[in-house]
Symmetry: C2
Subunit: 66 residues, 2 copies
Amino acid sequence: MTELPKAAVDRLIRRAGAERVASDAVDALIDILEDVATDISSQANRIARHSNRKTVTADDIKIASR
Amino acid sequence: MTELPKAAVDRLIRRAGAERVASDAVDALIDILEDVATDISSQANRIARHSNRKTVTADDIKIASR
């Protein structure tokens, strides 16, 4: 199940200069963004636990995204 | 202005295993995801225009994300 709303992702594509956007283009970008979010979040969670914290912080996310 | 809703991104982080999530961690991940979305969308738009199309397609997004 996806979490990110189509309307928001459609706006991000248009804001980058697209004149028209196919519906399946929005779905494709949602899949990619959710994969990126899952990869970064899993790594951030590992970093937090390695520091004996239960809370994932902004710094964990930033380090995980490098 | 950001487009992606905090609640959805919070759920993606929790789904990856986080027990607790700082509010600024959600903001940090939103910023990263919107940067990724903009980079991919700009490249996808270039690919579409290079093919003399005004519509960005799913394949444009997929190729742009590689």
